[in-house]
Symmetry: C2
Subunit: 336 residues, 2 copies
């Protein structure tokens, strides 16, 4: 049986220092920590580490649960993930990504193993079965997103109301009165209770009605191909449209490319605005005008909210809802 | 102390069935497994699960190590990751993503905790410090990528030689003789021993020399902005160029958009081909001609190679190197 004494000897430090590292009771320089951890792994001190994790029930690992096999793990998701990982690292935690399904089954298996201190949930459904799993297993968690019933749940999210108000307000201010929203495909079982789609579309209907604008919503799946097809439907059924708002980041690139191919000049003849986009504007030509998703902020805040919970600190102060901000590209202009 | 009997009673199954699930000794229907796992979590059987993991040293979890905070986790990475997760799931493993740095420090901390059965390494450097960490800790691993010294290492990778031969052969066949390679930025410390860049550039120099084509290589960072700047340099310094090959997926979109903005018609005046691209072709207008990165295949093969190792099965049969395949878009044509 390898002891702390063996580790201390091999690492050339005192037993007390090994203990500080093992129990996180006192800060140790990164170099010393690394030397000790190396000695532990070289000597096969692994079982003791697991025993410690078992005893203290603390691994300093947190998991981000993202249904990567059901929801496309694209630019936007990568932004949330990398900023969350960065935030965790700054507080000396490891963040790992669990690509578990949204139904709670796989999550049950993983949390059952007590491998992590807590979980950040992404791609939250309005009534999300994963929450019951986490509550039953008493796993601390934070949501990036919102269920319908939120009481007692730690969460951060996009402020969809403000985002849509700002976007429509901007286009209305340019003079646009004939708008179309290219929404998500709520008939798709993956998305029919997906918060961002449901809330954005509801906000759009409310805001458009407020301006007295006719509310036209086209459903569209989450791909550039679907976006191109939506552009065809748009010009066929609503040729008088002067501005299009698009929910999904890939659909937005597709709508623009589709309109282009159909000979519409953007933004001279028709404006395109992407409603929830990461920094993909630079990918398109002309550059898309976007409402910039606060992915970096929310990834950080969600992780921080969870870590505060784990450490018994005061809860994250508001605001917990962050709007997407208008980022002017070249795809919007006054109507012709 | 919660016993297997308690779990069996709660789940309404025999103790033997609980044991099958706990020890993986006999297949059990997914529904039964879920009922048992639910009962275990509800009764707080967690410590026993960890104890089991400790005893058998098997968690049925494998980690993909990807330096997501150093290397952009983009489309291409997401393809490798999701196909690897899918392959793991099909064999009843969980794959999780560890965004640990390339230097081996964080990896040491994570593998030291014995939380996973093995590791799939991505973004492999020619001399990768993570390999020593995994070997010291006797952690089974497989590489998606290649170090310079490969002996005894389980790996799968892109066949860069064939990929570049096919790409240059295609352009040469169209009549192009004035080519430029927009390569990665090998001066960037993140990439100076990054296999895909080093191997692709070397292959290009060899193949171009073979055709008697003047070898022109422009360095370019991994972003659309950098790609646009490269387009400016290209037209200024090498205005006679009729075809451009671009290594990085984001740079490729940038080069095309940059050439567009500078008034060059693609493909009439200049052809653009993306050398290692996931399915991003549809994002650009015109659609990029790409060498399609075999991300889905390699994610699956890398995971399978690791699982075979974990289970003492025969090693993955060759081929271990898969070329990217030409996928014709609209950005290439004979020279003017």
């Amino acid at each position: 049986m390898v002891t702390m004494r063996d580790v201390a000897k091999r690492a050339g430090v005192s037993i007390a220092t090994v203990s500080f590292v093992l129990n996180d009771t006192k800060p140790v320089t990164p170099a010393t920590r690394e030397r000790i951890e190396l000695a532990m792994t070289e000597l096969g001190f692994r079982r003791n580490m697991v025993a410690r994790a078992l005893a203290s029930r603390r691994t300093r690992i947190i998991a981000m649960a993202y249904p990567a096999l059901d929801h496309r793990f694209g630019f936007s998701a990568a932004e949330f993930f990398t900023s969350a990982a960065e935030a965790a690292r700054q507080q000396d935690y490891h963040l790992v990504l669990w690509p578990v399904g949204n139904d709670g089954g796989e999550l049950t298996e993983l949390v059952g193993q007590s491998l992590v201190d807590g979980v950040v949930l992404m791609e939250v459904q309005l009534d999300d079965p994963r929450i019951a799993v986490l509550q039953r297993t008493r796993t601390p968690f934070a949501l990036i997103g919102r269920t319908t019933a939120l009481e007692g749940l730690t969460h951060v999210d996009i402020d969809f109301d403000t985002t849509v108000e700002d976007a429509v307000g901007y286009l209305h201010g340019l003079g646009h009165r004939r708008l179309v929203l290219v929404s998500g495909d709520l008939a798709d079982p993956r998305f029919h209770t997906y918060g961002p789609y449901v809330r954005s579309e509801a906000a759009y209907r409310r805001v458009a009605a407020g301006y007295g604008i006719e509310t036209i919503v086209l459903e569209c799946s989450d791909s550039t191909r679907a976006g191109r097809e939506a552009a065809t439907r748009l010009l066929r059924d609503h040729p008088e449209t002067t501005a299009v708002l698009v929910l999904n980041e890939y659909s937005a690139l597709g709508v623009m490319s589709g309109l282009n191919r159909l000979g519409r000049r953007i933004p001279d003849e028709i404006s395109v605005l992407s409603l929830m986009a990461p920094d993909t504007a630079a990918l398109s030509n002309p550059e898309l005008t976007i409402m910039r998703t606060p992915g970096p902020e929310l990834g950080r805040l969600g992780t921080e909210a969870l870590i505060r919970q784990l450490e018994g600190a005061t809860p994250l102060p508001p605001p917990h809802l962050i709007p997407a901000k208008l980022h002017l590209g070249e795809s919007t202009a006054p109507p012709p």
